[in-house]
Symmetry: C2
């Protein structure tokens, strides 16, 4: 029997999620920068990886916590607020997205500093891969960014092209389900970190 | 291999989550009132139940969709905005909370009209059961309510006493783990829908 509380939590210890924490999908979480007081809460998530979206080095005590919990750090250095604004780098977001959609990295936490703009853009792109309608994607971005939402982030999410990545993901699924040769050819034409282990041809199962 | 997209979604059909949709926990979702155009998206959640927090009857087409998908409806009629404001009914929220923490009802969607106030209060109470610190509980409520957040909802969440429910849940877990007689007595003293099937005494396993 499962319950929504932890067996070993005796009700005495308060759990302190990082600022702006929320759940995105099964095994995918987002938040602002985790502080020391959040480590107890984070340990309840059994994280396998973290996607960190800032260029600044990861603090020593956070690194130690990752090491002792065997959590892998994927860092993608995206500039925060600058004057004039730096455009969100499409290729870097795409690389982060590839790590994010690979369930071998789950449970995974995405964070930047506030968990609003860089994190919001990456989650927005994930929603597009998932085929969410744009207005829902933007609503989610705005709910998490609050009053600090940025028009240029919305534009970035709207313009971000997930077609290549999505097609590639479908190719993997079709290959896995023995969908036949046509889709598999598509797979071989595309480069994608996620598919490295699926590149070997497999026998179709009867159809 | 699992991926974050649906196998049978060919990329052509847009998924339209209900307004203010988000994931609360594994198998727990929240949103505003689902409209006809959201049914396709909702079917991807494989819902087992819905907690509906308004007194108004459920619309016929929503009921039909529930029936055809074998989804159970738990309705708890809580008044929306009134003048003067009606206080949030503690007992009703507690009853809804009991349904919510019972994983036999998962995956479950909580909704009211906007998914902000009544839903926000119930989710806030769940977070208290989960031992989240109050500031994180209130931050989550505010992120989902946006500019329409209400001071009296925050006060309700803060004052809501989850001690009895939490103790009862722990009792079940301890009983399940063969924790001994002391906790089990506590269990028998409390009435709780969630524990109906666990009321039979069980042999302890060695300790």
């Amino acid at each position: 029997m499962g319950l929504l509380i932890e067996d070993d939590n005796d009700g005495g210890e308060l759990l302190i999620p990082p600022a702006n924490f929320s759940m995105v999908e099964d095994g995918v979480y987002r938040s602002g920068f985790p502080q020391l007081e959040n480590f107890g809460f984070l340990s309840t998530l059994n994280l396998k990886s973290i996607i960190y979206l800032c260029p600044e080095p990861y603090p020593e005590e956070n690194l130690k916590s990752l090491q002792s919990n065997n959590i892998k750090l994927f860092q993608f250095g995206i500039q925060g607020k600058t004057d004039p604004p730096t455009p969100m780098p499409k290729d870097t977001v795409l690389s982060a997205l590839r790590v994010l959609v690979d369930v071998r990295n789950h449970p995974i936490l995405i964070h930047c500093k506030q968990g609003k703009h860089r994190t919001g853009c990456l989650v927005g792109c994930l929603r597009k891969v998932q085929n969410w309608c744009l207005s829902s994607v933007l609503e989610e971005y705005q709910n998490c960014a609050g009053l600090k939402w940025r028009q240029r982030d919305l534009a970035f999410i709207e313009e971000f092209d997930v077609h290549g990545l999505r097609q590639c993901l479908y190719s993997i699924i079709y290959q896995y389900n023995g969908y036949g040769l046509k889709r598999r050819k598509l797979l071989y034409q595309e480069e994608n970190l996620v598919v490295q282990e699926q590149h070997k041809p497999q026998a179709t199962k009867g159809w």
